[in-house]
Amino acid sequence: MPDHAPFVSIESLRFGYGPRPLLQDVTLHVPRGSVVALMGGSGSGKTTLLRLLGGQLRAQSGRVVFDGQDVGALAREALYRMRRRMGMLFQFGALFTDLSVFENVAFPLREHTRLSDRMIRDLVLMKLDAVGLRGAAGLMPSQVSGGMARRVALARAMALDPPLLMYDEPFAGLDPISLGTIAHLIRNLNDALGATSIVVTHDVPETFAIADRVYLLGEGRVVASGTPAELRASSDPYVAQFLHGARDGPVRFHQPAPSIARDLGIPS
């Protein structure tokens, strides 16, 4: 595998839950070692894209390639082997509510390795320390805040030192301090672990501060891509609307509907 080949690439991917395609024709590349952000409004198929990457959904056409492997073509066993090399942070952490913080982080280690309890304990404490929560090891998930839960989930996602980390809306619903903490962690862990990260989000400032490359999704396609600086300088109306959060633009404020006069029964 030549090193300049992208670590993850998506090629003319098409996918939809019903008859209407959610993703029509998406092509993107994630270079090894980079932090790439997938941005777009709610319902633009960002999270779906992560599920396709993890093989939880299968593309209708096109390919998803992870480190040279076609994800969609893998059988169950091979898919599970591949997933050991991926870590995913779910939107609300998805911690196992019946296990303590410590046991949550220990879970992948216990399932996939035959390490001794002592070794697992040391590894878990190291991972928790990396996210600053060694002191919370004994708590239950119900006892930690939303931001802390996400950091625990991050420690769990990187328990097996996966070469690819995926983040599903890591900033959603966090207070400003937690938000900065998570953004900082994503960048630092990526560089410290020599991993590659894909961040799905719609928070512009945090993302632009940490991403190497940004893909902007809309209408089932990639509408713009580039470094944060390139996107900021872009004159594309969609990019401009998204970055500045304008109410109306290429993305309409109103859902398409018959005229309000007709809906309210007012003769025009």
Binding site: R83, F107, E111, R156
Partner: protein, 260 residues
């Protein structure tokens, strides 16, 4: 007209797809169930959760069903002057029918619902999806140990139900009413066959264990990941597993005792 036919066709296809989906789920659950035995700790944990916590309701119900059987059985039998057959009557009713069936119904209400709610909420919290992404198959790690534990717990609970029921009937019949203790026990001993009566009762409760566990896990796994979806799913579990237990009971009874 064409529309109506099309709608019927669509419904039928949807139903068939549902049945196929359920059957595949069951087949996969059966296929991975033995692997749960390789991790006995997970099964024991669930056995404690499912079995031990159903014990009190099973024991109390068994006792009262025994009381009532003792009373009703005595009133009917003494009209024909055969009150000493009370032990036999009670033991056969419990071991063949009431033990397996009533404990399965109670089990569906007590343990089935909690399994459904647990799986449904795990799904709603994306815990099952997270497990898949950690390359851990939830079918093996979460569902299989619960399934195996339920199938093991069911016959044990039914046996406890029957045993306590017999003690209850003894309390009412022998201690309270004064049926002769010797004939109460000896008639029971000579009239109950280990294989035909007790054995078939055990077979029934194993089948009920499969039914209740499958329904509870499947319904929980397919629940819509919302509060309303989970609450609906728990109701479905009670209704579906109760009906299934009653239906299977009739079929099994006809097969086992039909050609006497």
């Amino acid at each position: 007209m064409i529309d109506a036919v099309a709608r019927i066709g669509e419904r039928a296809l949807g139903r068939l797809a549902g049945i196929g989906h359920g059957a595949r789920f069951f087949a996969r659950l059966l296929a991975v169930a033995p692997s749960a035995l390789a991790r006995p700790r997970l099964v024991v944990e669930q056995l404690h959760f499912i079995g031990n916590r159903s014990l009190s309701i099973i024991a109390v119900s068994g006792l009262f069903v025994g009381f009532v059987l003792g009373l009703q059985g005595y009133y009917t039998l003494q009209r024909y002057g055969s009150a000493e057959a009370l032990g036999l009557l009670v033991a056969l009713s419990l071991v063949r029918e009431l033990g397996p069936v009533v404990s399965a119904l109670l089990f569906a209400g007590r343990a089935g619902t909690s399994l459904t709610a647990e799986i449904g909420l795990m799904k709603a919290g994306e815990q099952l999806a997270a497990m898949e992404m950690m390359a851990v198959d939830p079918m093996r790690r979460v569902l299989a140990p619960r399934f195996v534990a339920a199938v093991i717990a069911m016959p044990m609970l039914a046996a406890i139900f029957s045993a306590i029921g017999i003690v209850g009937a003894w309390g009412v019949g022998v201690q309270l009413i004064g049926v002769d203790a010797g004939s109460f026990w000896s008639q029971m001993q000579s009239g109950v066959d280990v294989f035909k009566d007790v054995g078939n009762g055990v077979v029934k409760s194993v089948v009920f264990g499969f039914v209740c566990a499958f329904v509870a896990l499947y319904v929980g796994h397919e629940a819509r990941p919302t509060p309303e979806g989970v609450s609906r799913a728990t109701t479905t579990t009670v209704v579906a597993s109760s009906l299934a237990v009653l239906g299977f009971d009739f079929i099994l009874t006809a097969l086992m005792f039909g050609t006497d």
